[in-house]
Symmetry: C2
Subunit: 535 residues, 2 copies
């Protein structure tokens, strides 16, 4: 500890650096060919006169300015003129791209002002309640990349479990909507669905979207890629079609086909959320407040008027008990009503993975088989998709309550959903996929039942882990193919699942993981966990 601890501002207030191109602080911009991922880095030579005059320190936050663009970066000090010279201002690859100028362009660098919302952050760290303006200021600073990793983490942890009341969650959500782009489809009814996650193989979006779009509802679905799971909807859809589309092209497809299945990363709908996720993921923090703010801000920004939310419950799901699911539903409902978003929440069976395949190509196979009413299609995936689609169809004032399921089933069984999916795939750019010969990893092994019995448990987390070790989602053909599900009887020596991998090393990692724990529990029929599913 230091004896004296008066607390002056984190960085010293400096007047803005002299205008770029003029005066003694002008430097020549240089692209330093180092990829620092999402973290902008600026490089200054230790003998650079600006470095010496400004009293910068390594790792301090600086503002780089060139051609009217300003970006924030972390400073590294260089002692090698071949990397950056004394009259140069080096920036990492991504930062250079953001500035959008040529090598050698005049640029300036100055101390970054501390974010204005830091006092509000400190109040939250100390457990105080924040008001709407506090959340606006914090979210704006986060979206503008003004927070350091330390400050971001402090905000996420301080707002964790129980620390935000429902009014604060609404303020946070609303502030996240305000900072991003907001779409307007100029229609009365714009529907979407979302699952809070945690269940491998749960690719219902790829069935629900073609069904409701075939009915004529507007459903501009954007999805994420997997970060910690074996596949996101965007990863699985990418097996079938291009998912990274220019924003304008997406709009055309939606207007023509009433739906799409694209990657949402390009839309900048809730930029603060994208930044927050960068610290929430590594910490596996997924508190109710942050989950609600993240999901509802993106859906509102995407122009949705009606949202169907899927909360799976099970012993290895994100939500483990019915009371917990009901509390979460109430929080979603409160915030949605403040946002004027019509919300329907369904609590579903999250005791085991959905379908057979886990991994992009395996899941695409299951989805296409359901669409084509193939006898090998997994029935649980079909049933869940029909129920969700049915509830969404009931957002249509012309559909009578209770009729949705039958309408959805009719759309699916008549082939109209498959035709709609085909149209969407062709519009986005078909990749050519045959569910009779899916491009699976060429290496595989099977995991066998050690004893006879009834399957009484399938661990979502362990099955996901094994699929990740096998290479999913990076290797599209890698993953786990389940050969039996909850409640089925197996005889000792029968296969439980097959693992596919693209590389020998991956296969071995998956084999070791499944040897430590198969993810399956065998027992007697009366040991099956109960589930109270609402619909």
């Amino acid at each position: 500890m230091n004896e004296e601890n008066a607390q002056p501002p984190r960085t010293r207030h400096r007047p803005p650096a002299a205008e770029e191109g003029a005066g003694p602080t002008a430097l020549a911009l240089r692209r330093v060919a180092i990829d620092t991922y999402r973290e902008n880095v600026a490089y200054l030579h230790r003998d650079c006169p600006v470095y010496r005059a400004e009293g910068f320190q390594a790792l301090s936050k600086v503002e780089v300015c060139a051609n009217g663009q300003r970006i924030l970066a972390t400073l590294n000090v260089v002692d090698d003129e071949s990397i950056v010279g004394c009259r140069e201002l080096g920036v990492s690859e991504d930062a250079f791209a953001q500035l959008g100028v040529a090598d050698g362009h005049p640029a300036s660098v100055s101390q970054a002002e501390p974010p204005g919302s830091i006092p509000a952050l400190h109040r939250k760290i100390n457990g105080e309640r924040l008001d709407r303006d506090d959340f606006r200021a914090i979210v704006r600073d986060i979206a503008e990349h003004r927070y350091s990793k330390i400050e971001l983490t402090a905000f996420v942890v301080a707002s964790n479990q129980g620390e935000l009341d429902r009014e604060e969650v609404y303020f946070l959500t609303d502030a996240m909507v305000e900072t991003g782009r907001r779409l307007d489809w100029h229609e009365r009814l714009v529907v979407d669905k979302h699952c809070i996650g945690g269940i491998p193989g749960n690719r219902t979006s790829m069935l629900v979207v073609p069904i409701v779009a075939a009915h004529g509802m507007l459903c501009p679905k954007t999805s994420s890629r997997a970060i910690t799971s074996p596949a996101g909807t965007a990863d699985t859809m990418e097996v079938l079609a291009t998912v990274e589309l220019p924003f304008e092209r997406l709009g055309e497809i939606v207007r023509e086909h009433r739906g799409c299945l694209a990657w949402g990363g390009t839309a900048r709908l809730s930029p603060a959320d994208d930044v927050l996720i960068s610290v929430e993921r590594p910490l596996s923090i997924d508190s109710p407040g942050q989950m609600v703010a993240s999901i509802l801000s993106k859906k509102t920004a995407a122009g949705s008027t009606h949202l169907l939310l899927d909360i799976p419950v099970g012993p290895t799901a994100k939500v483990r008990s019915m009371p917990e699911a009901q509390r979460l539903r109430k929080l979603f409902q409160y915030v949605a009503s403040r946002l004027n978003l019509v919300l329907d929440v369904v609590i579903t069976d999250g005791r085991q993975p959905v379908g057979y395949g886990i991994g992009p190509a395996l899941e695409a196979r299951d989805v296409m088989r359901v669409l084509e009413c193939d006898p090998r299609a997994p029935n649980d995936l079909r049933q869940k998709a029909l129920r969700l689609a049915g509830r969404m169809l009931e957002f249509d004032p012309d559909v009578r309550g209770g009729d949705g399921f039958a309408i959805a089933r009719d759309i699916l069984d008549s082939g109209r959903a498959a035709a709609k999916m085909d149209a969407i795939i062709r519009a986005q750019g078909a990749r050519g996929f045959d569910h009779n010969a899916p491009p699976l990893g060429r290496l595989s092994f099977e995991v066998f039942a050690a004893e006879s019995g009834v399957v009484t448990g399938i661990d979502n987390l362990q099955i996901a882990r094994i699929a990740r070790f096998a290479g999913a989602p990076k290797i599209a053909g890698a993953g786990v193919d389940l050969m039996c599900k909850l409640g089925e009887s197996v005889v000792a020596g029968e296969p439980l699942y097959r693992v596919h991998a693209g590389y020998p090393a991956d296969l071995e990692f998956a084999r070791e993981a499944s040897a430590r724990a198969t993810g399956f529990t065998l027992g007697t029929a009366d040991e099956l966990p109960h589930v109270f599913v609402e619909f």
Copy 2:
């Protein structure tokens, strides 16, 4: 949000990389002349076969191994062979120094295993109580630099205000002692003093150490440099003598002179604390639990048997009320008793800065004037130092309770303290300092009273801020020289204080800050804030 969110390990478990120097993963180590401060960075070319085979990502945590040394680093991906080639493993300057080998030495790199204590961290984030083994595991991982900035921050924020009970604070403190070096002076009585901080000019250590050492007590005082304040004891002592001494030399000085005043950074007494401070400082988090663990772990590791702790209370001090000070005292007492450390706590007047000068050279001037009983010496600094030294002398079983103050005053007034200070300064390496001509910043301005009245408030934080803007502690001669103190009457137009700076820009920043708020409040004598000081 991502739809599927099963949570596999943060990094994939890979077998350790092949032995260095053998096999396909051997690379040639290369020093990349980039200073990334305390954050180790490793650089791999995008076409490096190891990078491709291991599936690393930019910013992932890797373990670099060379010559039997292992360090953790953050990965940057390079696209320029002149920075790092395809068969090379680049490391930043500080990381290279830690490995202690020559350029070109064989080295290997592998995915870093996630720290073993992460599950305990998650339990703390979720508000659970941790046990002794949890704290041991967390503190060990922190000391070994296994935590990312995100994880460190999560631990600090989750353990903030009210989140650790007193038993947990003891576990944390004890774990911090265990991970570092622990000194043993082979004496029955090893005394130290510490102030929790927040009061500018509070340089009592530089008076107390010579007094108690002159009495014959062993007082091996190590101090910190300022991080957010205008001067730490180490910064002020450095005006008089060398403070960065090899550890062995420090031991010799202490044995010969019974005391020292050195910088503690080289001793590695509580390495986890040094790491935690790197996130506590930027967040200005100084929770009671972390303060107690930080102070008591360092003192215990330094071999102290008796500690005098100074808790200043005042409206702009760290502790703002008497009940808060008493709660903090109780926590210190509980943990100290568990550590078998004899602790005496004094609650002192923290309503204003101590002495006149704020900044290294100005504070050194005040200290030397007190030691030499110069009539210009600030009386409050003299009185406070005598009272603290008196309490410390009473740790000596041969000193009767209540006699300490008189003994301390006699040691000071007889010149024995000055002689002891002189001996310590010469032993550490005298710099040559004359308090009649202190080396102050050549630029200065004065701040004047806008009205007549009694000084009823001096804001510790604002005065510290102005001194920082003026350049302290980096510029030793910069700072604030107070010309009147609480309770004194001033006439409109009289100077309140003088600001010294070394550079015109600094002078202007300080001038702007003092123009926004002088830090002084003028009023009537009955508006003086009361203070309840215990001794």
